[in-house]
Amino acid sequence: MSPMDEQDLVVQRFLDQDLTPEERVAFLQAVDSDPSLRRSWLNLEMVVAEAASLPRLTPSARFISQLKAKVAPPSVSVWDRVRAAVTAPRTLEWSLASAMAAACVALVAMAGLVTLMPERIVEVPVASAPAQTVAASAEQEPTVFVRLVLLQPEARSVSVAGDFNGWNPGQTRLERSEGGMWTATIPLKPGRYQYMFVIDGKRWIADPLAAEGTTDGFGSQNAVLDVATL
């Protein structure tokens, strides 16, 4: 291509709107008086206008899907995902505000738990009073913890069987403490329960300290525990 002369450069700069106002005026005056220059300029303007209007391709769907497939991570098995999740090092971020909020939530939960499950211990002293239900607080809750006590120094094992455990002597065992005292604390809903102690797995006896008793239909006496709501 032949080198551009000064006039060619002015035309090009005009196309790029790169002329000073004075240069523009001079150029337009030259165009007005020079048909050849005018023709060259118009041809260039046409090229620029046509180029800006050339149809644009739309990338094919195949192109897009293939490309996205190539940048997608390889599929990972469930086992690998689980292993990665379990073994991935994690950074625990916390703020003082969120830590305090979590502590408050924990305290409220603990208080609620204590409130919901008060410990109700039924003390059954051997020497005197029968089993009693003692409310741990003024609020009545559905579960009452009843402590059963039996003095049996010679026994090797003591358990209790009754309505509350399907009369299964193997389910609720009493623990031996000093002096041959056997105790167990049983959570019970309010209601009336018949029960008996089982000594050494074979001797069934009624609670000698029970306030109430009833016949068991087999010639023996069952103790009756009345767990009342207050």
Binding site: M1, Q12, R39, N43, E50, A52, S53, L54, P55, K70
Partner: protein
């Protein structure tokens, strides 16, 4: 027709945010970058190599190269500029291999072009609008690669000289000369087709 590409800010996350997410292996984020810039890159490649299938292959290579090199992308520059640069280089590499010696104007091709359009003129001997567009597309393919690249970025993709300088790593004055020469060659070719112009 002829909607210009450049560099329009999209709604939703900007390119920088999508790049940051892509670096963290968010394939969906890079997919959004693909959706935003695929047309521009495919069209640049098409105008450079003149073949749709080759253009999509080159565009795909450009995107994959960008994806692999995401960690090197500087957040203070535009993703589109960086992507254009990768694509332009891919196209020039392709031309160097596939069409060596295209740096010089092919006179024989001009003569063949004259013969091709001889029968297609209007009664007045002028080319129709559509024919002008077709002839221009083919004439662009006959531009030397560096002129072609500059002309396409300037007048087909609608970029500024500043953006082009950033993409190509060439100073503005050099780019202007390439565009000037490209325009001149194209206007002379089209004028030859319409001698009455």
């Amino acid at each position: 027709m002829g909607s210009r590409m450049p560099l329009v800010q999209q709604e939703g996350p900007d390119d920088g945010q999508l790049v940051a997410r892509s670096v963290k292996q968010d394939a969906h984020a890079f997919g959004q970058l693909i959706d935003r810039h695929a047309a521009a890159i495919v069209n640049l490649a098409y105008r450079m190599v003149g073949n749709r299938a080759e253009a999509e292959d080159l565009a795909q290579e450009a995107f994959l190269a960008a994806f692999k090199a995401l960690s090197t992308f500087r957040a203070d520059s535009k993703f589109s500029t960086w992507l254009y640069r990768i694509a332009a280089n891919k196209c020039k590499d392709w031309l160097r291999v596939k069409r060596p010696g295209q740096g010089f104007h092919d006179v024989d091709a001009d003569e063949a072009l004259d013969a091709h359009v001889a029968e297609e003129r209007t009664p007045e001997g002028l080319l129709s609008q559509q024919q002008v567009a077709q002839e221009l597309e083919q004439a662009i393919q006959r531009l030397p690669p560096l002129y072609r690249e500059a002309f396409v970025l300037k007048h087909v993709e609608g970029l500024s000289y500043e953006e082009m300088a950033e993409i190509l790593g060439v100073n503005g004055d050099t780019l202007k000369m390439r565009v000037y020469k490209g325009r001149l060659q194209l206007s002379r070719e089209l004028a030859d087709l319409n001698p009455t112009r």
